[in-house]
């Protein structure tokens, strides 16, 4: 079978090609099956958490605070009496949500007793850095965060 002889170089090339093909389709299949499952588990973006948040001034008398969802994360807006301040409500220590304590005029984290003043500075406890501040403006009887 002189005609039928396949030189071993060509054979090895062909084998490599087939192996590559199998590998490619294998990986493509695994990726194609995995992708929907990963997407399925990802947090669903909430529309109300995006962009601009408005609070009626009447809902926020001096000394009070409200918890809002600002750009997907909790934020706290405080009426200090002297003006409105918006801070992230996520404690920089371990991610718990801080709460406004009207009597003491501080923000308190329930997890490890972190305390913050109305500018977000750490007064006590383990938080490694201050709370992030967001710009606030007042227009038409409304306290507004974000948007333009």
């Amino acid at each position: 079978m002189v005609d039928g002889t396949i030189d071993s170089d060509a054979l090895s090339k062909r084998r490599k090609f087939i192996k590559g093909l199998i590998g490619f389709f294998g990986i493509a299949t695994v990726a194609g099956v995995t992708y929907p499952f990963v997407r399925y588990l990802q947090p669903i973006k909430q529309q109300e958490g995006e962009g601009r948040v408005e609070i009626a001034e009447a809902d926020l008398p001096p000394g009070k605070a409200v918890l809002i969802n600002y750009k997907g994360n909790p934020a706290v807006v405080i009426n200090t009496g002297g003006g409105y301040i918006a801070l992230t409500a996520v404690c920089p220590h371990l991610g718990c949500i801080v709460k406004w304590q009207e009597e003491e005029g501080i923000l308190f984290c329930p997890c490890h007793a972190g305390k913050f003043d109305t500018d977000g500075n750490v007064l006590a406890g383990p938080p490694p850095r201050p709370l992030e501040k967001f710009p606030v403006r007042v227009a038409g009887g409304k306290v507004i965060l974000g948007g333009v």
Binding site: L41, Q42, P43, I44, L94, G95, C96, C111
Partner: protein, 222 residues
Amino acid sequence: MFASKKDSALLDWLEERFTIKEELEKNTTKKMVPPHINWLYCLGGLSLTIFIIQVVTGVFLMMYYKPTPELAYGSIEFIVKEVPYGWLIQRVHSIGANTMIILVMAHMVRVLFYNAYQKPRELHWISGIFLFGLTLITSFTGYLLPWTQLSYWGATVGTNMPGSAPIIGEWMVRMSRGSEQVSGVTLTRFFALHVVVLPAMISAFAGWHFVMIRRTGVAGPF
């Protein structure tokens, strides 16, 4: 065992079909327990026993538990206060979780001090590490289920931990919560992990662990 006539008839029936007599003798009746075994060698078996208790009590708790933020705490209160013996099953499950962690750790300490993790038992130790991790994660996910203040903040702190990892940290936090903050989605997610995924993984790793120990025999004498 007192081999009665009935026993051997059944055994013969099985032997004829599956030739299991040799296997059975090797693993049960003619299995030799080495003389250096002491009560510290029970710790692994006790961990398994507690795991089985946790599975059984857990299934019964599931019969009334509702994994939603509004109803979770109330449904556990209902189990404890209204369902006959619900208080018992809930209490056993809750104490069992802590006991299991203690037993697994004691088992690991025993293996460590006896150098039993050394060749040829490296894989025993590695599978054991996985079992320890899975036990911890199962307890952690179960801790959220009553949806109390403690469990809520516990889950918040716990899911915040992978956030320290570079690059994928933030992504891991969000995937484990299913939302930006711990929420109802986190609760159903933890519930699914706690009642199906993690117990199934523990069973698989434990099976592997036990087959290997049968293959190599227990370690010692030292």
